[in-house]
Symmetry: C2
Subunit: 414 residues, 2 copies
């Protein structure tokens, strides 16, 4: 009974049987569309009785067709497995599909769809009959920004029962246009950690997910949000999805680094987050939770812009962190990588660096371009130990980052 | 510095100064619309360049006007303070406004707006410089439904530090078309509890928020979701908001009880939830958290359909609960209240009932109709002790339920 139910549940993420079109696991309860065929074509259906033109935007814009019943439908070509953002465009207005739960990306609550993987591939982020941790919403006041902030904190399955246990901490950041909710909704980080911990592949750890958008009083906070510039002007266009070339209009672009040319971030963007993290976030976490002390129990990683932030923060504060990860986020900096001078010369003495840092992890989707691999090779050539991980067949998208986390977390705190 | 920032933050919920239109606190970062004037008129703006007709639906449907810049705008009459759901209608398609965060209500992720109250009135659900608890996402497997379920659990500010402390538990339910996220997003229950606990008005307690939509294997789960029936057919119309007369088309109706005539719930709806709660939810909570044992440390309450569920569950299980609350949810049952026979005769012996139940609480918005007051009067006439609370000027909406919780929680576990 329980096993059968688990198998059913798993199929929220895994390959459908037969040839019917199965509702996406991210639909609102009862909604039959969007649905995914076994060959990964996707059908959409919306009601817009008086509209002139309706499109769905996922891997490019696709015209929908109005049927005799007044409903607009489209079946689009096979999509890559994993989570994707998408939108509906009704007479020029870019919208979330009312048939799906929404997910904060590109600075607003847009639609999400999950294209199922084969069951074995999806197992690591699927529900299993293992102990589960919890993800907690934690408010705290920041002395740096002068505002209340929200963090989500994953505590491992035994945190409540092992009441004297202390745990190492991974600080884990979202990407451009996302927020502190991304990793446990789009990313399924809680299931990934639960499963790794159950298999004793990863050490039980606390994971802290904060919001990268950090502005001091007087700084223009709206610069740090994704949709804000557009929202001010017209609320019209959604900016190109993370990683897409600005002109591509595709939800699965391959540009890297992700945020090149996007602009809009103030000169102190990374510095303000680091300052806030050291002054407010880490002290709050270490005061509130049962945390193991010291740099060897502290890791930082992030995806895309959050990966760049992790490199910025950690390489400037190696006395505070011993583990570092960038998922589709690090390609050596804009000016190119120079082991003597990059990051204020922290790589200049490779032996000293290797002795100090327990892990430098570089992850990327295989269709994102060679920047991250080149960076890894350059680090290796300079004698800097690093781990390069490549997610096969995926772009700048959440399945890349789920896989990165699944490979990264077992390497921590050992 | 900190105090000034707190005052600023508070104004997310409180009266705007001056005569400008201030963005709703629920907008996406940087979005200037919707905005609220000091007299509580609200302006909306959307971009739908090729649309023929655009409306905003809040307290009735209001036509928007297309300007020379191609943007559609509308300013609607003053709204009642507090949280309201609303939608945008573009050429007949009912949508969430892309400029706001979305909130799960009526079975889908629709738009929300917060009409600020005078600061003193909003204080109890505003950020203050007090210790904050946390709200945790907790997955558990239900033997009754055969599925993984999600609960949100509030633990009070001292839960982490007072590591031997044990706490009483309030089980708190959402309403029709909502889910386990409603109370801590739309309801601000965490801030309400934090503030009450800081002022020593309420005892530190754990609050468990689960999903009322509960189906056994073989039962049609989609019957229990709000939008599903529509979604199957057309994804077109949004059902009338909770509490609105089916034909009113108003976001602020006044019908009570809320769910009369809505139908679509299976005959075992309440019974299945109760069974799941006793078999799975309470055992999970009492195994996972440091909980005080026994019925005198267990309360149950809910809003609208969740209030009706609370009466159903508690009155059939008085050996397990000593505190009961219905917020806009209880008017004595469909057949009318008879102290001798209602709820299987639990009220027949008033003295015995009063000795056993520490609290029966009935809350309602003043413009929702007399059903709840009549029920309270009938209970009183039958000698049953009860507390009647009326929220002035509010309908079947979240400000009613915030106020109910603020009045209810201090009465618990004393």
């Amino acid at each position: 009974m329980k096993i059968a139910a688990l198998a059913l549940l798993c199929c929220g993420f895994c390959w459908a049987q037969g040839d019917e079109c199965k509702p996406s696991s991210l639909n609102i309860p009862g909604a039959p569309y969007p649905c995914v065929y076994p060959d990964r074509r996707v059908s959409f259906r919306v009601s817009a009785p008086d509209a002139q033109k309706v499109q769905v935007s996922l891997g490019g814009r696709h015209d929908m067709t109005k049927g005799a019943d007044g409903l607009w439908t489209a079946t689009i070509p096979p999509q890559v497995v994993g989570f994707h953002y998408y939108t509906i465009v009704v007479d020029g207005m870019v919208l979330a599909d009312p048939a799906t739960r929404t997910f904060f990306g590109s600075g607003w609550d847009n639609s999400g769809i999950e294209i199922p993987e084969p069951e074995a591939d999806a197992a690591y982020y699927s529900f299993k009959d293992v102990p589960h941790g919890q993800v907690s919403q934690r408010w705290y006041f920041s002395s740096v920004t002068g505002k209340w902030r929200r963090s989500y904190v994953y505590t491992p399955p035994d945190y409540e029962t092992n009441s004297r246990g202390r745990y190492p901490v991974l600080y884990l950041l979202h990407g451009w246009g996302e927020n502190e909710q991304g990793w446990h909704t789009q990313g399924r980080m809680d299931l990934i950690l639960d499963n790794l911990i159950a298999e004793k592949k990863a050490k039980p750890m606390i994971v802290v997910m904060d919001n990268l958008n950090t502005a001091k009083p007087g700084e223009d906070a709206s610069l740090y949000s994704a949709r804000s510039i557009i929202a001010r002007k017209s609320l019209a266009d959604v900016p190109p999805p993370i990683g897409a070339p600005p002109s591509a209009g595709s939800a699965r672009g391959g540009a890297a680094p992700a945020n090149a040319g996007r602009g809009g971030f103030g000169p102190n963007f990374g510095a303000t987050f680091t300052e806030m993290m050291l002054a407010d976030l880490i002290p709050m976490v270490e005061k509130t939770y049962r945390v193991l002390p010291g740099r060897e129990n502290r890791a930082m990683a992030g995806l895309s812009m959050g990966g760049m932030q992790s490199f910025t923060t950690v390489l400037a504060n190696m006395d505070k962190f011993a583990y570092l990860g960038g998922f589709s986020g690090s390609s050596g900096g804009r000016g190119g990588f120079d082991p003597k001078t990059s990051s204020n010369g922290v790589f200049a003495d490779a032996d000293a660096f290797n002795k100090k840092m327990k892990l430098v992890f570089l992850g990327i989707g295989s269709v994102e371009g060679p920047g991250t691999k080149n960076f890894s090779d350059a680090l290796t050539a300079a004698g800097i130990h690093n781990v390069y991980f490549e997610s096969p067949g995926t772009a700048h998208e959440w399945l890349t980052w789920r896989r990165c986390l699944n490979d990264f977390a077992p390497r921590l705190f050992k």
